[in-house]
Symmetry: C2
């Protein structure tokens, strides 16, 4: 059997993890597009493919290749919107984007399309196990649905769920709260440790237990700390210690108030 | 050799984890105090001890027992301050409190005292491995120092560090950012998922990777998401989806601004 073929637009963190995983799953990659040829070539080299930086040329390739199964778009949301405007119904492949917050309808000019959204944070420095990453899919048409299932099957993804665009935007927002905002708090915790000489890594058992407790219970029911105890003595000691750091002072005060108001009317 | 003896004031989450661990390490517990006798008795029963709810009676016991090595105080910060006022130099044992944000000097009326602060979040429902919990200690005098080392040795605690009161307040504050505030964000992430039918547990691989990435790198350097990318399109989509939820809307906007201002002047 001939191997299935995909083309990928994007060479960033998501594309850099997804494309090699798809190739490892037995697919062949016919091309990698990036605005910067160097980046396109770097990813293409890793997966035995060819780099492109000319979007018009890429569109000709996509429209003429009748053996292409999937076009995967892993660009920033702004770049995705721009590229989407150039896609036409001449493309016979199914066009999938991987964005959490972009509606599927942005791909409406193509015949077959859908969404292939991995709920994970990808970074160049760290390997991620794609098969244990939850994927949320949305298919515009039967062909897109079939190809999404082929793709997730070939990648041996254990958690696949079909959701709508509106649900996906909520999921992506939950990820912003649980990942991006949480990392910002980790950064501030590290800054607070600052010149005590205690490294951030020492917080690991605490941070790990916080996560495990939240996941094994409902996080709202296991809230602890000075804010929910209305322990004003401790809150004042902390605010006094932060007086020379306006940014952290404001975040401490805002989230203390937020916890108190969240638990006064939600309980 | 006679086993070492301690008395514990407190029957909450910290006392409920520490006292059994100290007993398991070969110490005997001569008494458990709580304002509520039922709570004192419940913990006392688990560790073969005796419950008290009369603070004056407890003080007489502490002052007359010359074989007591350590008095451990694991009360709320407010209760600790109240109890501390009743302690006298008649007590021959070393008095230790376990509070992150209370100065050691609150125990100044006793001859030998110090601080034994575990950096962990304790809850009734979950077992915690005391030996892998980092402990931060502060000793007022040589006897206190010797007894703190005995105690941490007997508990086989792998990470023990001596720090000052000021440093401990900063550490405790870092724990508030990394644990209490983070859990609040987990609660809001769970609320955002709400009626999508996607359970909070599905976020686990993402939340775990966020934590592992932050600990293996400096969290400020691995910040991702729409805020740091200044991806206004996505931010607006999220805010629009939160318009009917004022609390989450405000937190989303505040932390997005916070990330942007943090990384504009800290970089």
């Amino acid at each position: 059997m001939m191997s299935k073929k995909f083309f990928i637009l994007g060479s960033g963190n998501v594309a850099g993890h997804l494309a090699p995983a798809v190739v490892n799953a037995g697919w062949s990659c016919s091309g990698v597009y990036s605005r910067t040829l160097k980046h396109a070539n770097a990813l293409a080299e890793r997966i035995g493919s060819k780099g492109y930086d000319d979007l018009s040329q890429v569109m000709s390739v996509l429209e003429s290749d009748r053996e292409l199964d999937i076009v995967l778009i892993s660009l920033t949301d702004n770049a995705l919107s721009e590229v989407a405007r150039m896609l036409t119904s001449e493309i016979s492949a199914t066009v999938l984007h991987t964005s959490g917050s972009t509606p599927m309808s942005v791909l409406a000019s193509t015949t077959s399309h859908g969404v292939f959204y991995p709920m994970q944070t990808f970074s160049k420095e760290r390997a991620v196990d794609i098969s244990s990453t939850p994927f949320f899919i949305e298919a515009h048409d039967d062909l897109a649905h079939r190809r999404l299932i082929e793709l997730t099957d070939d990648l041996q993804i254990t958690h696949v769920r079909e959701i709508t665009t509106d649900e996906r935007i909520r999921l992506h927002m939950a990820a912003v709260f649980g990942c991006n905002f949480v990392n910002h708090l980790y950064a501030m915790a590290a800054e607070v440790l600052g010149d005590t000489g205690v490294p951030f890594t020492i917080l690991m058992p605490l941070l790990e237990e916080t996560l495990n407790k939240a996941v094994s219970h409902d996080p709202a029911t296991v809230q602890t700390g000075p804010a929910i105890r209305h322990d004003q003595l401790t809150i004042d000691r902390h605010l006094a210690a932060l007086e020379d750091n306006e940014k952290l002072y404001e975040v401490y005060r805002f989230l203390t108030d937020s916890i108190q108001s969240y638990h006064s009317s939600n309980s």
